[in-house]
């Protein structure tokens, strides 16, 4: 007659051995089983035949053995007893985690189900034992554990130790000594295959180097995945194979400036406070919103700051090459308009070109399509509310004509688009266009067709950053527009029929990838004229034909935080009206 503990030990050994079989293999070879239980192969075969007669295993001579459903359940219940006892001994009895395995080996065969149920309830229905091994429930079901070893988890990413799969006493002491027990957060900094070592960053930035063999025995999960796992209901955690991404995200950027123009007092300006929020209704339907407070303060009709809804759209993502977007959208013009997080560009203020020729940040209510085809070819094409020519000016061009989605006239929507080609890593070439009828506010109505073309190139690699951009705007019927505005406000605004600008910039990170941060220096040349061409009978103002040199530096203590300083030298063609130079300091960050 078989003793109960012998049967249980065999079942447990088959259960554990089967878990380590290669995928596609079902039967545990008899030699492995004999070795696991510490008997001769012939003894193991005799026992397995007896177990097969009891309906607990399937035995195939010369092939191996597998548990039946009944055997599987019995083995899982033995493990349940073993692991609950281990946890009880550690938590309640004060044992250390490297001495409980042997005690549990004895006790697992003698404790009653009633006692185990009490222990389970007393410990709060735990899911894992002190080593991170999953505890089967009272029905013998085990929750699936997802995890990677330290040999396969992502580098430089915070992971949480979830399980130690070797319970050798010495090894467990080593793990405890180096604070690598389940629940600890660590990062794999480097793996050296030649030396067979893995370098870890543990608690308090402590560096630990362990061998690849030891590293293969620690299971980990990426920290945020683990958090979701713990927050999920047990049913959800069991049924899902991957952690769903958070459905709502909050992010943002800020821009704080000190500007000191020549001959004027300096000013402190919290230029931008921007919050981005995204929400995924599903993998394919997403919302993106961007709310910006400019100059920190908004009050009634006074000339102060602005509160702007710069983006608020829903994306319907169909395929990589075809997606639909609708809502408040950024016009796809130039480099800065769609890519304006402060740490991403040199200089305290945005380039003049992206202010007076391309009126960034340029956003409007509209809809359209976007996507990517082939290798690196991207497009966007939108219809949107047009610019309002009644707000154009000589000095700022079309900038004040943005309707910003505020009950915007859309009788004759504008069309805009951009094609971008990422030729290879770091090099992006782009061309943008915009066209619309902007004279809708005048009675009798007349057309003010406005069109803009822009082209740009950007190269960013190994600390070197090069940018070039050209933009030109045409305002047809500018003469009629000037006449109509002169009648309305009593002064002829002298708006040009064409605006043009270009800029060239080079920057280089002279100090890169150090623990204390990075430093980059840059210089930019800009040439811009908001009266590049004038309607017949009008004379341009020479002070609006300007160029500028901006030189400066950026210090990034973190890739998402930029401390900037620059000096801007602005010149115009006028000998009378001088544009002031300025010294600027900025602090910008993204999170």
């Amino acid at each position: 007659m078989l003793t109960s503990s012998t049967v249980e030990n065999y079942l447990k050994a088959i259960y554990g051995g089967a878990a380590r079989l290669e995928p596609g293999h079902r039967l545990l070879p008899m030699g492995q089983l004999a070795s696991a239980v510490g008997v001769a192969p012939g003894t193991a075969t005799t026992m397995v035949k007896a177990l097969a007669e009891s309906g607990l295993v399937e035995y195939e001579p010369y092939s191996g053995v597998a548990l039946t459903a009944a055997g599987q359940k019995l083995a899982a219940l033995v493990l349940r007893r073993h692991r609950l006892i281990e946890l009880f001994l550690v938590r309640v009895m004060g044992y250390s985690w490297d001495e409980v395995h042997e005690e549990a080996e004895h006790l697992e065969h003698v404790v009653t189900d009633r006692l185990i149920e009490r222990i389970d309830a007393m410990l709060g229905r735990p899911e894992t034992d002190p080593h991170g091994d999953p505890i089967p429930n009272a029905e013998g079901l085990v929750k699936t554990q997802e995890g990677q070893t330290l040999l396969s988890c992502p580098l430089a990413t915070v992971v949480t130790v979830t399980r130690i799969i070797d319970q050798d006493k010495e090894f467990l002491r080593f793990i405890e000594q180096h604070q690598l027990k389940p629940g600890e957060s660590i990062e794999v900094e480097a793996r050296d295959a030649a030396a067979g070592s893995v370098r870890l960053r543990g608690k308090n930035d402590q560096r630990i180097t362990i061998g690849t063999r030891a590293a293969s025995k620690l299971l980990v999960q990426v920290a945020h995945v683990l958090l979701l796992f713990l927050l999920a209901t047990p049913a959800l955690a069991q049924s899902t194979r991957r952690a769903e991404p958070a459905r709502t995200n909050l992010s943002g950027y800020m821009d704080f400036h000190f500007n000191k123009p020549e001959f004027q007092d300096g000013s402190l300006d919290f230029h931008r406070f921007v919050l981005l929020v995204t929400h995924s209704f599903s993998d394919r339907i997403r919302f993106v919103g961007e709310l910006e407070l400019e100059h920190a303060f908004v009050e009634g009709l006074e000339e102060a700051g602005e509160l702007e809804l710069e983006q608020a759209y829903v994306d319907f993502l169909f395929t990589r090459s075809f997606n639909v977007r609708a809502g408040m959208i950024l016009m796809p013009i130039g480099i800065i308009n769609e890519r304006h997080e402060p740490p991403t560009y040199y200089g305290v203020e945005r380039p003049f070109l992206d202010t007076v020729i391309v009126p960034s940040t340029w956003f409007e209510a509209g809809a359209g399509i976007h996507g990517e085809v082939g290798r690196g070819w991207r497009y966007r094409a939108f219809v949107a509310a047009p610019l309002n020519a009644a707000a154009f000016s000589a000095e700022e061009g079309v900038r004040e004509g943005r309707q910003k989605g505020a009950e915007a006239n859309a009788g004759r929507p504008a069309v805009t688009g951009r094609i971008e080609y990422v030729a290879y890593r770091g090099l992006t070439l782009g061309a943008s266009a915009w066209s619309g009828k902007s004279g809708f506010e005048f009675r009798p109505r007349f057309d003010v067709p406005v069109s803009l073309v822009e082209t740009d190139a950007r190269y960013s690699r190994r600390g070197l950053e090069l940018r070039g951009q050209f933009a030109q705007v045409w305002i047809d019927n500018a003469g009629l527009l000037n006449d109509a505005l002169a009648l309305r406000v009593g002064v002829n605004p002298n708006i040009g029929s064409a605006l043009r600008g270009f800029s060239l910039e080079s920057g280089y990170r002279v100090i890169a990838n150090t623990a204390r941060g990075e430093v980059g220096v840059f210089t930019r040349y800009e040439n811009f004229d908001t009266q590049y061409r004038m309607p017949a009978g009008y004379v341009p103002l020479l002070q609006l034909d300007r160029d500028a040199w901006i030189v400066g530096a950026t210090y990034w203590p973190d890739p998402d935080v930029a401390v900037k300083v620059d000096y801007s030298i602005v010149r115009s063609q006028s000998a009378v009206v001088r544009a002031p130079n300025s010294f600027n300091v900025g602090l910008g960050w993204w999170f």
Partner: protein, 125 residues
């Protein structure tokens, strides 16, 4: 006749040794090769953004950010990892696609153009 058989046998063995010696003969049991693919992430592009592989190829995708932290998620799979910021390391992902198109995208909000940051792995038989 016997001499002819012997000559042919020696010829076949020598040919087999030569082929094995030059590496042309690849035993079926030899471990499957891993194809390493390096992808750079930067607001708001993955480069390369289109990757063509043979179905069943074991891919080791090495991801590196050139600016802020990004995510790398292969839609419809378990692959969803975070890429540390510039200069803070490389993230590796193992992926073995069956035949099909696998869209990947940035899964960590990285800026105003975050939603443009996508790419595709095309696995063909």
């Amino acid at each position: 006749m016997r001499s002819c058989v012997r000559t042919c046998s020696v010829g076949i063995i020598v040919a087999a040794l030569l082929v094995e010696g030059t590496g042309w003969l690849v035993p079926a049991a030899r471990a499957q090769e891993v194809r390493v693919i390096e992808i750079a992430a930067e607001r708001f592009t993955f480069t390369p953004s289109e990757i063509r592989v043979k179905a069943g190829t074991q891919l080791e995708i090495r991801l590196q950010s050139d600016d802020t932290a990004h995510g790398f998620h292969i839609v419809g799979t378990d692959v969803d990892v975070e890429l540390p910021k510039r200069g803070r390391g490389i993230t590796t992902v193992s992926f073995q696609p069956t035949a099909g198109r696998y869209t990947f995208e940035c899964s960590k909000l990285c800026g105003a153009g975050h939603e443009f940051m996508r790419g595709v792995i095309i696995a063909t038989d």
